[in-house]
């Protein structure tokens, strides 16, 4: 069998990778002069810990039937997603410079199989958890023990379909097969989530029968530990609610709704890269 996971990567190494991913994100959005940096920067630790230490995958065989699946349900966070896939080795990092440009496989929102590792199309929010249920049910029918990890945004949780799916996961007994992750950055397209539509992700998932694991979404060790806990065999499905900062790592983007979907200028890019390198 192909290698499931390489040896565990240390937290220090994960932090270095996270820096590279953050730099990729701001470069990509700057080059395209469009895209979504805020909700990409907030998800970096979740994605890096997952892809390097927890997701069972084989970059040389991305269609491996027994692979774990990662579904980017908050489909606008493609800069983060594409960077993680490239840095992890699914495709060349050279592709990142074409992000959002004519003819690229790396569209503004993900297009399934356009590049290796892209498991699902996205862009219309609220659909990833349902997709993961189907994949998980198929895995159970085929006696494959893969897991499906779904990354959702807290603004995305406004969509009713999320809750149709949230009630179905425990109902179908998919506790060991579907793991939800919420990037709780508190900001959505039009502003702060508490003013646009207040959600209570932890309480809501608990109410739907999930065990909720809360963590600081930028503490790499804490995220890594949360993923380890989420993977422990149990009947009850697990949802990681990661408390994050939108735009994390770039001072003028942090907690700034204006950078949900806006590109930095050339000067701002220079500043952003310096701050990321310094590890703000």
């Amino acid at each position: 069998m192909s290698t499931a996971l390489s040896a565990a990567v240390s937290v220090d190494e994960l932090k270095d990778i996270a820096k590279r991913v953050r730099a990729d994100i701001v470069r990509m959005v700057h080059a395209a002069q469009s895209g979504h940096p805020g909700g990409s920067l907030s998800a970096v630790e979740l994605g890096v810990a997952l892809f390097w230490n927890h997701l069972r995958c084989d970059t040389a065989n991305p269609a491996w039937p027994a692979r774990d699946r990662f579904v980017l349900s908050k489909g606008h966070a493609t800069p983060f997603y594409y960077s993680v896939l490239a840095e992890r080795g699914f495709f060349s990092t050279e592709l990142l410079s074409g992000f959002r440009q004519l003819g690229t496989p790396l569209q503004g929102h993900p297009s399934m199989n356009a590049a290796p590792g892209i498991e699902m199309s996205g862009g219309s929010l609220g659909q990833g958890l349902s997709f993961a249920i189907g994949q998980a049910l198929a895995g159970r029918l085929d006696s494959l023990d893969y897991r499906c990890f779904v990354l959702m945004g807290d603004g995305e949780l406004n969509e009713g379909q999320c809750w149709e799916a949230a009630m179905a996961v425990p109902h179908f007994g998919l506790g060991d097969r579907v793991i939800a992750m919420v990037d709780r950055n508190g900001i959505q397209n039009d502003g702060f989530a508490d003013t646009i539509m207040k959600t209570h992700p932890a309480e809501m998932f608990r109410g739907f029968g999930w065990k909720v694991i809360e963590c600081d979404g930028h503490d790499m060790a804490a995220v890594d530990a949360a993923l380890t806990e989420a993977k422990r065999p149990a009947d009850q499905p697990r949802c990681i609610v990661a408390h994050t900062v939108k735009g994390k790592g770039v001072s003028f983007m942090e907690n700034n709704p204006g950078f949900h979907g806006k590109a930095p200028t050339a000067d701002q890019l220079v500043q952003a890269l310096a701050e990321i390198e310094a590890g703000l």
Binding site: S124, S130, I133
Partner: protein, 316 residues
């Protein structure tokens, strides 16, 4: 050769699924709390591990089906046509139609059109064909009787693309025997004719056959085509009808905007312009028994015959 079966087309759904399993297709089927009406439960009774109900949650159902398809299964989903696609069009577009050029999800929507009957306008889907024909990779099929519906379910289960099959609630007269072979994209000429062609789908096929009888009484020779596949439409059959009869009537239990009539008209204007009359449902409905509703909406042999006379009168 057996006699044609008279039954509701929705009754063919579980029969088609059972046939697919027999044929070795890795089918799974999902319902959304209407399985007693879509008849999906009959498949679930036989193959419990291959059947799920998701509760009243059509959007989730579509997403789950997409996941199944991505994992290599052949998923079917069923509900009423008013909710599927009505309640989950975006999910059909984003989670099914767009990924990989179309995930192989099979939508079988029952209770299509106004013949759903007493439940009234909210339950009477007259938009579904228009919606589904806009989803690029989808085939769209409206079978006319039990045998054709069963074979359509089997046929779509053996393609690698997404499909929409609309079935109906009421029992309709059988047209085809088991010797019939349905082919996606192929119209059936049920009656030859030279003066006008009645092109119909679903329940209206039986109505068109009766209209042709009326016309025959006045020495008008009406061809009847069962155009079960709306997309891809059988262009050759439409072109031949225009060339050989010179006048067209379309008839459907659907709005004339975006359904069978629109698809036929496009072929005509692109290839063989000919007078065309559209018979369909262009207003919201009311309660009533299904056959009363056909009268109420003038989906009748008399109306089709009049449309045929009107089309013939416009010939040059």
């Amino acid at each position: 050769m057996s006699e044609p079966v008279s039954a509701a087309t929705r009754e063919a759904y579980p029969a088609g699924l059972l046939q697919l399993v027999e044929d070795g297709v890795d089918v799974v089927a999902i319902d959304a709390d209407l399985s007693v009406s879509t008849m999906g439960y009959q498949f679930g009774d036989k193959h419990p591990s291959r059947w799920q109900t998701v509760g009243v949650a059509e959007q989730n159902m579509v997403g789950i089906a997409a996941g199944f398809a991505a994992a290599g299964k052949t998923p079917f989903i069923a509900s009423f046509a008013s909710f599927l696609p009505g309640r989950c069009f975006d999910q059909l577009r984003t989670s099914v139609a767009q990924p990989k050029g179309g995930l192989s999800v099979k939508v079988v929507a029952s209770h299509g059109g106004v013949t759903v009957g007493e439940d009234g306008m909210s339950a009477q889907a007259i938009e579904d064909v228009a919606l589904m024909t806009t989803l690029i990779p989808f085939d769209v099929i409206v079978p006319a009787d039990y045998e054709q519906a069963k074979q359509a379910v089997v046929a779509v289960g053996k393609t690698q693309k997404p499909s929409y099959v609309r079935t109906g609630r009421p029992k309709v007269a059988g047209i085809y025997t088991t010797d019939y072979r349905f082919e996606i994209g192929k119209a059936d000429m049920l009656r030859p004719g030279t003066d006008v062609t009645l092109i119909a789908c679903g329940v209206l096929v039986g109505v068109a056959l009766k209209a042709a009888e009326l016309l025959a009484n006045e020495s008008v020779s009406a061809r009847v085509l069962n155009m079960a596949t709306i997309k891809p439409i059988d262009r050759e059959a439409v072109i031949a009808a225009a060339r050989e009869t010179g006048a067209i009537v379309t008839a459907e239990e659907h709005q004339t905007h975006g359904g069978l009539g629109t698809a036929v008209a496009r072929v005509l204007v692109e290839t063989t312009p000919a007078p065309i009359e559209f018979v369909g449902v262009d207003r919201y409905g009311t309660s009533g028994k299904w056959d009363q509703l056909l009268d109420y909406f003038e989906l009748t042999p008399a109306r089709l015959a009049q449309a045929a006379r009107d089309a013939i009168a416009r010939k040059r």
